[in-house]
C-alpha cells in the first residue's frame, strides 16, 4: 500500500521534471496561442503552480482522486475524457487476450503432462520454445502479413469493435500463452512426482484424478502469480500491438501523446499502469489465500 502511494509520487514527478511550461501548453491547446498576463496568472494559480513543490504534490493527489487529471496538451480535452474514450477498446483487447491465454495454457499444459514424453508433449514444448524466442511485435507483423493479407482473415483497418478483436487478441494470446504453458507444465510435472500424488494413487485414484485434484491446485499458485505480473507487461505492450493492428485503444493514444510531448496523458497512462499492477497483485494475493490455507495464517 505504501509502495503504491510512493509510486504516485514518482508519477507526479513527471510533470515538474518535464521540459516546457505547462501553462503555456494548456492555453495553446485550448486555442489561445498568444495568452496575456492575466490568463497565464489565473491558470497558474488554478493549477497551484506558484506554490512550493510538496504542496503541489498534495493538490495534485487531491485532484487525481476526484478524477481530475488535468488537460491534454494536444487536444485541450480533459485527460480523463481522452482516456475514457479509448479505454473500452484496450480493455476488450487485453481482456480477450487474457482469457484466451489462460484457456490455452491450462489445456496445453494438462495435455502435455498427461502425454508426457510422447508426441503431443513434444509439439507443445516446441511451441513454448518458439514463442519464447519470437518478440511479440514480430509475431504480430507476421500474422498481419500472412494471415490477414495472405489468407484474408480480418481487416487491416478495423472499424468498430466486436468480433474484430479476435485477431489481435488471439495473436497476443498465442504469444503470451507459451511462457505460461511452460511454467504450468513444469510445475505440474514437479507435483506429479511428489508425495501427495503417490499417496493418492496408492488409495486407488486414477492418474487423471490425481492430476486434476492434486497436481493442478498445487501448481496454480506460481501460475497465478505469473499471470498477475504478466498483466503489467501486457499493458506495456499495448502501444506496439495496437499500432500494428491499428486498434483504436490506449496504446495508440500513448504513442500520439509521446510524439506530441503531451505530458498529462503520459502521466495518466503511467498512473493507470501502476493502478492495474496494484489491483492485479491484490487479486493474486486474495486468490492465493483462497487456494492455499497456509497463507491465511499470516493475514488473520
Amino acid at each position: 500500500m505504501a509502495a503504491a502511494l510512493a509510486a504516485t509520487l514518482i508519477v507526479w514527478l513527471i510533470l515538474p521534471l518535464a521540459p516546457g511550461d505547462p501553462v503555456l501548453r494548456i492555453l495553446a491547446a485550448q486555442g489561445i496561442d498568444e495568452p496575456n498576463e492575466l490568463q497565464i496568472d489565473v491558470l497558474r494559480a488554478e493549477l497551484a503552480l506558484d506554490r512550493p513543490l510538496p504542496v503541489q504534490y498534495i493538490e495534485w493527489l487531491g485532484r487525481v482522486v476526484q478524477g481530475d487529471l488535468s488537460v491534454s496538451y494536444r487536444t485541450g480535452q480533459p485527460v480523463l475524457t481522452e482516456i475514457a474514450s479509448r479505454l473500452p477498446a484496450t480493455a476488450l483487447l487485453l481482456g480477450t487476450a487474457l482469457a484466451f491465454s489462460v484457456f490455452f495454457s491450462l489445456i496445453l499444459a494438462l495435455i502435455a503432462v498427461h502425454f508426457r514424453d510422447r508426441w503431443p508433449d513434444r509439439i507443445i514444448r516446441a511451441y513454448t520454445q518458439i514463442t519464447a524466442s519470437v518478440p511479440t511485435f514480430i509475431f504480430a507483423l507476421l500474422v498481419l502479413q500472412y494471415v490477414v493479407l495472405g489468407l484474408g482473415i480480418g481487416k487491416v483497418l478495423p472499424r468498430g469493435l466486436g468480433w474484430l478483436v479476435l485477431l489481435p487478441a488471439l495473436t497476443l494470446a498465442i504469444d503470451r500463452a507459451g511462457g505460461w504453458t511452460q511454467l504450468l507444465r513444469a510445475s505440474l510435472l514437479e507435483h506429479i512426482h511428489s508425495g501427495p500424488v503417490l499417496v493418492a494413487r496408492s488409495r486407488g485414484a486414477t492418474r487423471w484424478r490425481t492430476l486434476w485434484r492434486h497436481a493442478l491446485p498445487n501448481s496454480l499458485l506460481p501460475y497465478i502469480t505469473a499471470i498477475g505480473v504478466s498483466l503489467g507487461a501486457m499493458i506495456g505492450g499495448t502501444p506496439i500491438i495496437e499500432e500494428i493492428f491499428t486498434w483504436p485503444g490506449l496504446g495508440r493514444l500513448m504513442l500520439l501523446s509521446i510524439q506530441a510531448r503531451d505530458f498529462p496523458v503520459i502521466q495518466a497512462f503511467v498512473l493507470l499502469g501502476a493502478l492495474c499492477y496494484v489491483t492485479a497483485s491484490m487479486l493474486v494475493d486474495l486468490v492465493s489465500m483462497a487456494i492455499d490455507p497456509r497463507l491465511r495464517e499470516a493475514h488473520p
Partner: protein, 298 residues
C-alpha cells in the same frame, strides 16, 4: 539416494551427457551442451557481423537510389532494396552494432546496477536495506514497459534516450533478485563455518557470497537479453528509438510496413535477423542455466 529418486531425476529432459564428469571450464561446458553449441556459434557470427558490419558494406546504406527501388533479392543486392532504393543487406549490417550493441549496453548496465544495489541491500540489512527495497518496490509498481514509454515521453524520442529509459525501467527487478541471492548465499552453513574459523567479513563477501549471486544473476540476465533486443527493436519500430536516417532493425520494419505485401523480403530480412539474435541469446541463456545449475545439485 534411493533408486527411485535417481530414476525420477532422470525424467527431466537434459541436454547434457548424463554420465561422466563435465569439463571444468565454462566455455567447454557450454560447448558440450546441445543448444549451447549452436548458440555460441550464432552469437559469434552475430558479434563479428556487428563489429565489422560498418566496414564491409557492399553498398551505401543511407543514400537513396531511386533507380533501384523495391528490387527483389539478386546478385547485386543479396537481400533486395527498400522503397528508396537502399540496399537492405547494407542497412542490416550497418544497424547491427546499434541494435545488438545497445541491447548489450542496457543489459550490462541493468546487471551491474542491480548487483551492486542488491549486494549493498542484502549485506547491510537494517535501514539501508529497507530504504533500498522500498525504492525497488515503488519502481516495480509501475510495469517496466510503461515506465520506459513514460521516460521516452519525457525525454523525447531518440536512441540514447531509449537506452536510458530501458535501464531505468528494468534495474529494480534485478536488484531485488540480487538481494535474494545474496541473502540465500549468506544463510548457508559454510558461511557460519568460515566466520567461526575467523575469515574476515569482507573476504567472505568477495569469495563466498558475491560469486554465486553474480552467477545466478547472470543466468537471469542472459535469459532477459532476448527481451531487451526485442524491446529496442519494438521501440524503434514505433519511431521512439533510433531516428532516421540511422538504420536499425526494428525501424527498418516500420519504414517499409506498407510495402510488405509486394516486397516480402523487406519484412523477412530484418525480422529474421532479430529472430536469429533472440534465438541465439536464448539458447546460450538456457545452456548457461543447465550447465551452471546442474553443477550444484547431486
Amino acid at each position: 539416494m534411493s533408486g527411485i529418486e535417481a530414476a525420477l531425476n532422470l525424467h527431466r529432459p537434459r541436454a547434457l551427457p548424463a554420465r561422466g564428469k563435465l569439463p571444468r571450464g565454462l566455455l567447454a561446458r557450454l560447448w558440450t551442451h546441445r543448444g549451447g553449441r549452436i548458440g555460441l556459434i550464432l552469437c559469434l557470427i552475430l558479434a563479428v557481423l556487428s563489429a565489422l558490419g560498418p566496414s564491409i558494406l557492399p553498398h551505401e546504406p543511407n543514400w537513396p537510389d531511386y533507380a533501384s527501388t523495391l528490387l527483389g533479392p539478386s546478385a547485386e543486392h543479396w537481400l533486395g532494396t527498400d522503397a528508396t532504393g537502399r540496399d537492405v543487406l547494407s542497412r542490416l549490417l550497418d544497424a547491427g552494432h546499434r541494435s545488438l550493441g545497445a541491447a548489450m549496453l542496457v543489459l550490462v548496465s541493468i546487471y551491474g546496477i542491480g548487483l551492486v544495489v542488491g549486494v549493498i541491500a542484502g549485506v547491510s540489512g537494517g535501514v539501508v536495506d529497507t530504504v533500498l527495497m522500498r525504492l525497488v518496490d515503488v519502481l516495480m509498481t509501475i510495469p517496466g514497459m510503461v515506465l520506459a514509454f513514460a521516460i521516452v515521453g519525457i525525454l523525447g524520442p531518440g536512441f540514447h534516450n531509449l537506452i536510458l529509459a530501458l535501464i531505468i525501467a528494468d534495474w529494480a527487478y534485478y536488484a531485488r533478485l540480487a538481494r535474494s541471492y545474496v541473502l540465500n548465499a549468506a544463510g548457508q552453513p559454510y558461511i557460519t563455518a568460515a566466520r567461526l574459523a575467523g575469515v574476515p567479513f569482507h573476504r567472505i563477501l568477495i569469495q563466498h557470497i558475491i560469486p554465486p549471486a553474480a552467477i545466478q544473476l547472470a543466468i537471469v540476465a542472459s535469459l532477459g537479453l532476448g527481451g531487451t533486443i526485442g524491446a529496442i527493436a519494438g521501440f524503434s519500430f514505433l519511431g521512439l528509438g533510433s531516428q532516421p536516417p540511422h538504420a536499425e532493425w526494428g525501424a527498418m520494419l516500420s519504414e517499409s510496413r506498407f510495402y510488405f505485401p509486394i516486397a516480402p523480403w523487406l519484412l523477412l530480412a530484418p525480422a529474421g535477423l532479430i529472430l536469429v539474435s533472440v534465438v541465439a541469446v536464448n539458447l546460450i541463456g538456457n545452456a548457461l542455466r543447465d550447465v551452471l545449475d546442474s553443477g550444484a545439485d547431486k
